[in-house]
Assembly symmetry: C2
Homo-oligomer: 224 residues x 2
């Protein structure tokens, strides 16, 4: 029988908070008190009678002001990969924070661009990658791009967010025509002047449940 210390939690909840900083996705990391890695995804053991969603939300609130506009479970991770807790498994969550309101609490938390993430424990690295995959694959089923933007945004900003998530340039006219057909946004009567050039109208996310969009299946996506 292995020696099991009583303080090892049964499992952990790990949160991947994402936002956009200067045209790049960034993830929130917390300074790790001890152990091999200096930074780690925010995590905690669930408390008694606390649902996993509630625990994830509690962890979010302990690191930033406000709440994520979108949050979803990624899955369970374990398989003998090392983790700051010594639990056997961890349940990962992904959350999106609107750009422009990234205010980590104290100096214990900071945003790291995805291109510059420090070393994490193997299990947390898996969770981070899975969260990114989830966000990217859910783009056309959840309003993911909108949850990374403030409530009001210009169409150019929205397009740039799509380009960031898809890692692909989009054509302006085509993007706007698709947006028009999808009834996802509505214009406000505010405009924003960004340096030189014509001011841009501000829009808000306001999906109208019209046109069930019953186009055929897309078998071609199976290639990738």
């Amino acid at each position: 029988m292995p020696d099991r210390r009583p303080r090892r939690p049964p499992y952990s909840i790990d949160v991947v908070l994402l936002t956009a900083v200067r045209g790049q996705l960034a993830v929130l990391l917390s300074r790790a008190p001890d152990g091999r890695e200096k930074w780690a995804l925010p995590w905690d053991a669930p408390r008694n009678n606390e649902t996993m969603d509630a625990a994830a939300m509690r962890i979010c609130k302990s690191t930033i002001e406000g709440e994520p506009g979108w949050k979803e479970q990624i899955g369970a991770f374990g398989d003998a990969k090392r983790h700051p807790s010594e639990s056997n498994i961890s349940v990962g969550f992904a959350g999106l924070i609107p750009a422009g309101t990234p205010t980590p609490v104290g100096g214990e938390h900071a945003w790291f661009p995805l291109s510059d993430v420090p070393g994490l424990s193997p299990r947390q690295r898996l969770i981070l990658d899975a969260a990114l995959g989830m966000v990217r694959s859910r783009m056309d089923q959840s309003p993911v791009a909108f949850r990374l933007l403030p409530q009001m945004f210009t169409l150019t900003e929205l397009q740039q967010m799509y380009e960031l998530l898809l890692a692909k340039r989009l054509h302006k006219a085509s993007f706007r025509r698709a947006l028009q057909g999808a009834w996802l946004v509505e214009p406000t009567d505010e405009w924003r002047s960004e340096g030189r050039g014509r001011p841009a109208q501000l829009y808000r996310y306001a999906p109208r449940k019209r046109r069930p969009a019953q186009r055929g299946i897309r078998l071609d996506l199976l290639l990738s």
Copy 2:
């Protein structure tokens, strides 16, 4: 401090095996030895140093001959919902079994059409529903429909499988044109005569990595 019995496993692995029986999806359930429900999703506690995938595969093999052609983790479930194990959380897996080879081991396992599933524990009911949602939503990213068919199949059978999963009629010519464009199947030189009518050519799943299929984004899917 609550009284914790030592034999309570830290977590359980639950498997949702699906197949198609007479034009309906069916799920494999095991007879439950005791407890409030008579049938349950196959589950077990993971053994020492066993990955979650390995545990899920072991559970699959204990209930049917052969292996699922596709298997994926659904997520972690818990949140105080009751489960046959008394663990706090369960990790759900979905697996697909080709139609025509559904041979449950002994009399302890049986296929139940989805329209006729007996009462399950609340947590297992959640896992089953999530597995169905996952399979349906992954249709255009994983070869889900093909894994519910035998290795060789007619295009009409394939179309009927898609119709079953999408719960929607498809037009024959459109379906075949999309299939052609996606380079997913290749014809064999075998034919099958099914009673009256012209015999159908048999095909096999043979995806070719051609044409990255770089069409624009589909914002209209956000309506749901």
